[in-house]
């Protein structure tokens, strides 16, 4: 029997540096390595000794694509440690800026990183030659997400206006209203996006996943709620490390997170969708149903549809917040430091992002723990490949390689995030 291997030295159209190696013997996959060779940057290590108020800006630098997620998970964790809860318009504004990040990141992934896989292009720029309007629509959508982040955060990458307790400065209702028109356009464009992606061709491929996401009793999850799964997990965020753990893997500079004693789980748009369908707006639900996504979807290639449905949701949610906005008296709540432990779990565009901190009475960080979406999805990605490859061995080598890359990109992996950490030999210069 023939031996084969699928090897991708440098995965493209993903954020960060990763590679892929699959060894095949006859019709069996003998080894799969989704390699991450991003140099580790040791965030948890140097957070130690920093002030609790610095965590949002420092952790934002783990990932330039989802800085809001880092700022939000850390701010919420610090507020929990200090016994402060942000409510009312400040809470809404946080949701709003997060919607901006979802719109920006989802539009980037759907149009520029993932759609070229389905349509057979190397990138969005070559795709633009044949489909100029499509790419322009994607870019405009992305830009509107960015504008929302700029308005509330000061800039789109590593916003400067987010702090523990709220914001440094909040917009006037009039300033927010300026976003209403663009968002109305974005909503229409998002509905078209759902139509467009639903017409793509999807490999027949379903897996029995454990989906995990934040869950809130009234709203589609973004910033706050319990952590649940379709296989019985239903916990408060403070119990996160009771249920989940990270395992060290040799071939990667990243850790794999698993459900203790059970194994891989799946986070991200598809998980959120499957676990929180009833919290979507009626319009987003309708768009999903019309797109044939179904109440439950186990095909990871269709995550692109879930992402598009979330674009619809994020635009509507942003419009709702803008319409109801009343300017708070103060842009932030005072958060005096208090010795304690705080946890934060929020929904980054690519899935649940967990932070835990221990701080002392002066607000100095004693310990930090961060579990990023891609370390949680990494095992699922490898499992998907292990199941997908044997079914597709008759494909020509190039096509198989292409499809494997596409299967990785289903998860919008953010590789810088997944290796935020540790464990290595340090060599003296």
């Amino acid at each position: 029997m023939k031996n084969r291997s699928v090897k991708v030295d440098c995965l493209t159209r993903v954020e960060g540096e990763g590679g892929l190696e699959i060894k095949i013997k006859g019709d069996k996959v003998t080894d799969i390595q989704f390699n991450i060779f991003e140099p580790p940057r040791f965030f948890e290590a140097f957070l130690h000794g920093r002030l609790f108020t610095e965590a949002p800006d420092i952790t934002a630098r783990i990932c330039g694509i989802c800085p809001i997620a880092y700022q939000m998970s850390s701010a919420h964790a610090m507020e929990m440690a200090c016994g402060v809860k942000v409510e009312g318009p400040l809470r809404d504004l946080r949701r709003l800026v997060y919607c901006g990040e979802w719109i920006e990141s989802h539009a980037l992934h759907v149009y520029m990183l993932h759609a070229p896989d389905f349509l057979g292009y190397d990138d969005a720029i070559s795709m633009a030659k044949d489909h100029p309007d499509l790419v322009k629509q994607g870019l405009k959508l992305k830009k509107i997400g960015n504008e929302l982040m700029i308005l509330l955060g000061g800039r789109e990458i590593h916003p400067i206006n987010i702090c523990v307790g709220g914001f440094f400065k909040v917009p006037t209702p009039k300033e927010l209203q300026k976003m209403a028109e663009p968002l109305k356009w974005a909503l229409k464009a998002s509905l078209e996006t759902v139509k467009f992606v639903s017409a793509l061709e999807f490999p027949e491929f379903e897996q029995d996943y454990e989906f995990v996401s934040v869950n809130h009793d009234r709203e589609y999850p973004i910033n706050e709620g319990r952590v649940i799964s379709n296989k019985g997990i239903d916990i408060v965020v403070t119990d996160f490390l009771e249920i989940f753990e990270e395992q060290q893997v040799k071939h990667s500079t990243s850790l794999h997170a698993v459900v203790k004693d059970r194994g891989a789980y799946h986070v991200g748009p598809l998980a959120r969708y499957n676990l929180n369908f009833d919290k979507l707006t009626p319009l987003a639900q309708k768009a999903a149903v019309e797109a044939g996504l179904g109440r439950q979807c186990n095909n990871p290639f269709k995550s692109i549809i879930a992402r598009a449905v979330e674009l619809v949701f994020a635009c509507e949610e942003a419009l709702r917040i803008i319409d109801n906005y009343q300017m708070p008296e103060k842009p932030y709540l005072d958060v005096p430091p208090k010795a304690g432990i705080g946890h934060g779990a929020t929904e980054a565009p690519r899935g649940l992002l967990y932070h835990k901190y221990e701080i002392d009475n002066d607000g100095v960080i004693k310990a930090a723990r961060i579990i990023a979406p891609t370390s949680q999805n990494q095992k699922v990605i490898e499992n998907d490949l292990a199941a997908f490859v044997p079914l597709n061995l008759d494909l020509p080598h190039d096509t198989l390689t292409w499809k494997c890359e596409q299967a990785v990109r289903n998860y919008d992996p953010c590789i810088s995030c997944s290796c935020h950490f540790l464990k290595l030999n340090i060599e003296q210069e």
């Binding site: 493209t12 940057r41 140097f46 990138d123 800039r155 400067i160 440094f168 060290q248 290595l424 210069e429």
Partner: protein
């Protein structure tokens, strides 16, 4: 093709968050036009097409933190006619340079569960410590308008126009109220190079130095001023040890306040 060849652009990543290269994709209005004038020959984050070098313009993001990368940057230099570093990681070592101040052994024993196969250097260093750099663009992240200016300047074979003055000066030019004078908020604006348009003060926040030290910045006089605002020595150390901690003047000032 009979047409004159387009210059080739390459985008490289070392230890970083990808935010600076994302700035290029964030030029939503200009991106397609850029692709008209430059051939995007190597940009793995955005494209699967990988064209061979040499490249006319290389944008380099990230700092050097591993022996492998210390070698790779030389390869990148070899295939690049012009090499521009983008962002605080590439120009100053970035936030990950905070490890440069720790005793490596302590560091390992406090954090690392077990030794691993990955080889890591004990310091995170800027690209210019390793190879010749044609131009450095500052910021964590860089400003996308400045990035466009760099690309434009390159296409027109001139030097990029990037203002050399401080964030503080920028506030005065833009008529932004001084947060130190008005609210007693500590601000690194007087010693930080502009490029952001004095963003933080315009949001009533003190500058935290993400564009790095302005040339000839007087950090010690600023530190004295901060002390009158009751900023502790510890917090002075923290302030200078941010996203540009390994930049010379910030590093030295932080050491002054470290016991």
């Amino acid at each position: 093709m009979a047409k004159a060849k387009k210059p080739k652009l390459a985008v490289w990543k070392f230890a970083s968050c990808s935010g600076c290269q994302l700035s290029l994709l964030d030029c939503e209005d200009e991106l397609l036009a850029i692709a008209e004038t430059l051939e995007i020959a190597y940009f793995p984050k955005a494209s699967s097409a990988v064209k061979k070098g040499p490249y006319d313009l290389s944008l380099v993001e990230g700092s050097i933190t591993t022996p492998h990368d210390a070698h790779r940057i030389h390869e990148v230099r070899k295939v690049s006619k012009t090499l521009v570093t983008i962002g605080a990681c590439a120009t100053a070592g970035g936030i990950q340079a905070l490890r440069n101040f720790k005793d490596v052994k302590d560091f390992i024993s406090t954090v690392y569960v077990s030794p691993q196969f990955i080889q890591v250097l004990d310091k995170s260093t800027p690209i210019a410590d390793h190879v010749f750099v044609d131009f450095e663009l500052r910021g964590c992240p860089i400003d996308k308008h400045q990035l466009l200016e760099v690309v434009n300047a390159f296409l027109n074979k001139r030097k990029p126009i990037v203002p050399p003055y401080s964030v503080c000066m920028e506030c005065k030019r833009r008529g932004i109220i001084c947060v130190m004078v008005a609210y007693g908020t500590p601000c690194l604006g007087p010693v930080t190079q502009t490029g952001c348009g004095a963003l933080c003060p315009s949001y009533h926040r003190g500058c935290y130095g993400c564009f790095g030290p302005q040339e000839k910045s007087n950090t010690s006089s600023l530190a004295k001023w901060w002390k009158t605002l009751n900023v502790s020595e510890d917090n002075l150390v923290r302030a200078f040890r941010g996203f540009n901690a390994w930049a010379d003047s910030f590093r030295k000032e932080s050491e002054v306040h470290e016991k």
